[in-house]
Symmetry: D2
Subunit: 287 residues, 4 copies
């Protein structure tokens, strides 16, 4: 488990923008003698828009003080109709990874996790194929094989829900080649992050590298987004591209795209774990 910094709290606030919010939150911090380490805020429209704020504060003895902080924050935000939370950054969110047979995105996450770059814990990796079991267990992380063939889809989803619900705070699809049902997304109850192997909204759906080759594009990309019921239409967290040429075959595109996929997914997971990502309609605010 990679612990975050000690005695640092992350305060996030979201809701209708109104004058006085920043002053109220600042006063909250001041009366608890917190020291602001960083502060980001954004309003998508200064008149009647939505307001987003992320604040990291240093507070000695945070763990003991947290319940009181949480209670006072709720009182502070209530008159504004805002939603918010304050959490201890030394407690990493629990992340499950779903994979299939491709190793690159999964191993990039596990590597970075082992190297202390990702402030998450990884209770479990689940795959619908057994291929990556050894790779995962090398990192000391449990690997569970949940096959998902043909008519088994509901059964497989039920099995995954049984393993994950209550045990994880976020699910990451690291080239998991199954479409999750709306029912699953509702029951899992935590954000699900996917990596799509194209620069969305270009090349929605299957086989984007083949389509990219056919269209003769000069850049290929990858997109990390929250999963919604609409395939490849969820809020985008991060995207990036790499330059290709006519001389690159579809296999070359796939190979070069794999590097972009793992970089984009790792950045998206990092930012989510750091609570830098706010969802608003079909968009993401990323501080």
């Amino acid at each position: 488990m990679t612990a975050g910094p000690q005695d640092q709290a992350c305060l996030v606030v979201q809701g209708p923008d109104r004058p006085g919010i920043v002053a109220a939150v600042s006063a909250f911090v001041a009366r608890h003698h917190g020291n602001i380490v960083s502060l980001d805020q954004y309003s998508d429209d200064p008149e009647g828009g939505e307001f987003f704020q992320r604040l990291v504060l240093h507070h000695p003895g945070l763990r003991a003080a947290l319940p009181e902080l949480q209670a006072d924050l709720a009182e502070t935000l209530e008159p504004f109709g805002l939603q918010g939370r304050i959490t201890d950054l030394s407690v990493p969110p629990r992340m499950a990874v779903l994979a299939s047979t491709s190793a690159h995105c999964l191993l990039d996450l596990l590597w970075r996790h082992r190297g202390g770059e990702l402030p998450v814990s990884v209770p479990m990796v689940i795959s619908n194929h057994p291929d990556l079991a050894d790779d995962v267990r090398t990192f000391g992380i449990p690997f569970v094989h949940v096959p998902s063939q043909g008519a088994d889809k509901a059964a497989a989803e039920a099995e995954i829900l049984r393993l994950l619900v209550g045990n994880v705070d976020v699910v990451v699809l690291a080239r998991y080649m199954q479409i999750l049902s709306g029912d699953f997304l509702q029951k899992i109850g935590v954000p699900v992050i996917n990596i799509h192997h194209s620069f969305l909204p270009a090349f929605i759906g299957a086989a984007p590298y083949r389509k990219a080759k056919e269209r003769g594009v000069k850049l290929i990309g990858a997109t990390a987004h929250y999963v919604t019921e609409d395939l490849d239409e969820g809020p985008i967290i991060e995207q990036d591209v790499v330059r290709v040429t006519h001389a690159d075959s579809a296999a070359d595109l796939q190979r070069r795209g794999a590097d972009v996929e793992r970089a984009v997914l790792s950045r998206a997971v990092l930012w989510h774990a750091q609570q830098r990502v706010f969802r608003s309609g079909n968009h993401c605010i990323v501080f």
Copy 2:
């Protein structure tokens, strides 16, 4: 007029790939005592694919020798069923620009042209609005206003054809906000290059920056392509992107996208003028 290098010829070859082409072309160059300055080639499939070659050669006294070179080249390529041409790089292609009211792409081209970066001549700029007349004439280039309102479309196209046919080797649409008819494309008889203000095939059609803002993408782009009858579907010459954030408004995207548009269009025009671009089906090979 920006002249290209003296005594340098550009030889381009395209057609079915067969063993012996490179040897035959090299022998052609050798028996005319040309010195190869650069050579690029590509075959999209070594077995039964299409072959593309671009060769720049230094040949003292090129202008006088050109007719003989052209005749011998035709004989050299004929047995292979290849198409090719050899041209004098000191004779720049003639480029007309069609614009509307946006200045950035047009002025970038004229500016680079004046600075000697674009080996073309610019006999004329045509616009369906008068706004840019002074800007264009500052460069010593004729500006012709051909309005294109409502039912006039056929009349306007006829007027443009009358001005351009026989006088230009390439037409560039520098944010020309009119869709050209298939009839026009056929009659103009030279390549037409367009800049589309998105990373195609994402955001085909009108208002791509607004659509990009709505979709919440993290990169916006521009695409230079040859114009075909299928809107935004022609062969892509060049693309690029720039990173944006949630804090960028649709107007910001438009402003930042304008920088990408002019850079991408200028590169595409340069490469076309240097005969680096080969069309093959709906693709471009760019050396």
Copy 3:
């Protein structure tokens, strides 16, 4: 003159970091009924470091209220030992440009200014060569030729000071090929921004493209920085690079580098004009 947004004030604060600053500034904004449009802050060390904050606020009737706001701000910051100012964003800073014979950086600035992208006014362009006079005057901007040959350096600097002191808020060196004396920098009394045609600290001094070609680098760059007495050592505002290959000649590097230079300089000038750049020792904080 490009005016900034009406009724928006920019508040910047810099100084020793202490608990309570954010609360005090927020309270200041709240008691003047300002609405926060954006807020950025940074502390280079939460314990004993330096604090930087930039805040844009909407305040109807700003022009009339500004003196009172300024007085109250001074009182608010005084107990913290902070420096700060609040200014009307609709009043653009006055920018003089110094150039020599290269047009690309100068014209990029003037173009963007004319297009409303740069919130500055441009009272004057000064050059030590007459070449760019017509280009500048086309934009309706005064051009003054101040030659600077041999022993005239002090005389030329004195002439420039006479023209600029009191008339400008920032001076931009757009490929001005003269080194300004320490005496000049002191007397000019406003920030001076330079564009260096390399990725500093690589290739300090003259002829960086030639040096880059000799070293065989695979990327070339440009650096915009505040000018100090130490040549090419001032605080960096912005940098960027572009990929090159062995096939690019030193002239190609210069041509491709010119695109990076103008882009980097324009971004740096924009950010400076928007008061996004804070100097701290030999660094810049850029919000």
Copy 4:
């Protein structure tokens, strides 16, 4: 071991540029009934410069024909005073990796190798620390610990030479924190590739990320180069950069730089293994 494509030969030629080389090489390919898959060439000066060519050709029954091809190639090139070789691409070069305690560059290479992306064999990894033994052996690759403390340097180098000479075709320093002596470089007799954690020539020597933080740069980079006796001065194969801000600590720079380092080193190793890199003085030509 990752084998390259079957029945494909790589022909590389380097030496003084003269008319007729391309024709002679093409004739060589034609008379052996080879089919050209790709061809790149470059002359650093069409008049009296140096010529470089890389040609991949398909030749059924290559392995049996190779000795005859090699003999004929030598005869073909001899009159031109050129150096060249023709090799079987299905036989991968043997690559040893030297590492210390940092895993990122080493594991990226081994991972790509395992995934079939790097056409090399890896007979051995040597480190002056035991830390990475398990990681390496997981890939089925021998790990040898050769400590190099204090006065042992000559002894350690002798031990490494004993292990490697005759057994490898290239040595890669994957963040190997020891400076190799000129004597070692001479005796090893094969190219040595290093990754330097800065955008050379900026920040030569130790602690480049700390220096980058101190200088306040806005981009950090990495450079892969051939090792020569002059520290950080060898011919550059590849470079890349990533954008950073004032908010990134020196540790952040190191973490983000690590991603650039491994990407740059892996590309350099790939291109070297594919015989795309030609050394010429202190430069690299990379096809």
